[in-house]
Symmetry: C2
Subunit: 368 residues, 2 copies
């Protein structure tokens, strides 16, 4: 499968074959927004971390891994209970292969990474089942700081790729989408192969009951929706994207179903979505337990979604084959940065080439 001259990039929702060329890039930058929501501490909600106690280290450890190839705040790379690695292993490989610069934005982590990071000066988000997630002033600050940084990035870089690492983030995304009137139930993906939809729905319903908000009740007030049911990552990424497109730049939202929250927020601000696309992995695209395409289509028909096929099913490593079996699937911008590295290389590299490099990175990381 291929899109134009680029192999292993699949176009999921658009008819015009020229759309990928619109996001061609010679000088991209990757921004990974790391954050925390106490919602992730609910047992069964995520496997992003070896156990519930370690979940708070995941996003810091991911960002250390991107810079160093190993972690500093924990001993091993973030890994699932049975040894499946963080998607940061894909991200690091793709960044290195085509020399893409990147910065980490700390948007309210509990554990700070041992790297230079851009601070948005935010607190971690609370458990949304209590109907109070992020101080409204912090929502506004996150968005405004995102805009400031996004404007600076658009001056240097022809494509700003924005990813995230926040365990539990699909549950907070569900809360925000429902409050904004997007029929998102059963459409958000999960790091688990068996998507805990009923648990997520229950948490969101509980939070909405506490806050006395119903489906679509905050359609015109996305900041309030984030404040009640979201996390600090969402307004930070939305602000970054807004800063870039308001400066005439182009944005790739590198992530799965969570990124639909950013699309709906920008749409509610009447922004043109012409210069935004979503880049993800084929494991999100092919997930039977979620529906990224339908979710985004219900918000906007104009945002193209691209997915990369990394041929993980063909890997010699069982930890990587697991991605093709529905574990982890995406995160830390893995899919979007893989697409960006294919675009930046003008198709010189493809999914198979990336897989070989990811396997080498995997061997090094596991040995450490």
């Amino acid at each position: 499968m291929h899109e134009g001259e680029y192999y292993d990039i699949i176009r999921l929702n658009q008819s015009s074959p020229s759309l990928l060329n619109k996001f061609s890039t010679t000088n991209p930058i990757f921004i990974c927004v790391i954050s925390h929501t106490e919602t992730s501490e609910i047992p069964g909600i995520t496997i992003a971390g070896e156990n519930t106690d370690l979940v708070k280290y995941t996003s810091a450890a991911d960002s250390e891994f991107l810079y160093y190839g190993h972690c500093k705040c924990i001993n091993n790379i973030p890994i699932t209970p049975d040894g499946k690695p963080t998607p940061a292993i894909i991200t690091r490989t793709a960044l290195q292969l085509t020399d893409i610069p990147f910065l980490i934005v700390d948007a309210g982590t509990k554990i700070k990474p041992f790297i230079p990071y851009v601070s948005f000066d935010l607190e971690p988000g609370k458990n949304i089942k209590f109907g109070k997630a992020v101080d409204i002033n912090h929502v506004i600050k996150a968005f405004n700081y995102g805009v400031i940084l996004g404007k600076q990035l658009a001056k240097s870089n022809d494509l700003v790729v924005i990813g995230e690492s926040i365990p539990g983030g699909t549950t907070t995304a569900l809360g925000v989408l429902i409050a904004l009137g997007v029929d998102a139930k059963f459409k958000l993906s999960s790091s688990l192969p068996i998507n805990p939809h009923s648990l997520k729905n229950r948490i969101v319903t509980e939070g909405m009951k506490k806050a006395e908000v119903y489906f679509g009740g905050l359609k015109d007030d996305p900041f309030k929706a984030i404040s009640l049911f979201g996390d600090p990552m969402i307004p930070s990424v939305a602000g970054l994207a807004d800063g870039v497109i308001s400066s005439g730049g182009r944005v790739m939202l590198a992530g799965g179903t969570q990124m639909s929250t950013v699309v709906v927020i920008l749409k509610s601000f009447q922004r043109s979505l012409d210069n935004i696309c979503i880049g993800t992995t084929s494991y999100i695209a092919g997930d039977q337990s979620s529906d990224l395409v339908d979710l985004v289509k219900s918000i906007s028909k104009n945002v193209p979604i691209f997915a990369v096929d990394l041929h993980m099913n063909e890997s010699s490593k069982s930890g990587l084959r697991a991605f093709a079996k529905g574990f982890v699937k995406e995160g830390v911008g893995a899919g979007g940065i893989s697409i960006t590295s294919i675009l930046k290389s003008k198709g010189r590299i493809n999914g198979t080439f990336l897989l070989k490099a990811i396997e080498r990175e995997y061997d090094i990381a596991i040995e450490k």
Copy 2:
């Protein structure tokens, strides 16, 4: 006076007229490293702040001013007791005129600015008269984080311009230079028109006595010299510069005599200095109470120094004319960014053009 086709850029120390062209740029970025040393709280050492109590706000306020055109952590722009404005007014004007992106690095401020900034996770520096300024682990961290960030910047930008805002920074620079065996006494400039050389010398002498270190005693250990007599800005800027040049990029150190510490540190690490220049104002260049050219020459003959003539003496504003009378003179990368904006504009703008824009910015800032 002009250098090649660029008016108002003066070449101070080199014979080859092609040297400025080497630093021509289409896609520069400005990094301003803000920091604090308790040395600045010694009365009479600086006028960077309305009074000794307010000095700790200066660098945070400077960086807010760059983004917003006004400050948030204090009510007015950083200003001297009798109304002379921060050099950030020059920097902001030059950045805006030619749309140069910039990021702030917090390297140990006491007051954090209300902006998104890159955190190097450092403590403010102590008063060097006690012979113990910065924890050695923080010196190393500052340098390493600088290298990490510098490498990323060099991937996107063809010139990385690095400035600083740290009140009292010429005194800490003096301490480091002397410990490294650079005959720097009476050569460092001051924000005051009457350079308090004897006070600075006394503080440094006191600190060296406490630490039992003599002239040149730490020639081979620049990190220890910074740890005893420096501030957190110096290793941060040195690391940034090292990260950029080690990636094949080019650096302009935007500042006055303080930047000589960075040159001596990189030289002691046997780095090639071919891709480094210093950019400053003509008010530093013409300062009778200091000697930038001689200071840098005693370290390396290969680092070109450029100065911009902003024609401040011709300004209609007394607060700006003061720059030409020896007040403030430089800071927040003012000279280097003015030069960069002239270079980026391919000479379309010059010092006179900049002055008119600075005067407009001054009017707006004073009104607020």
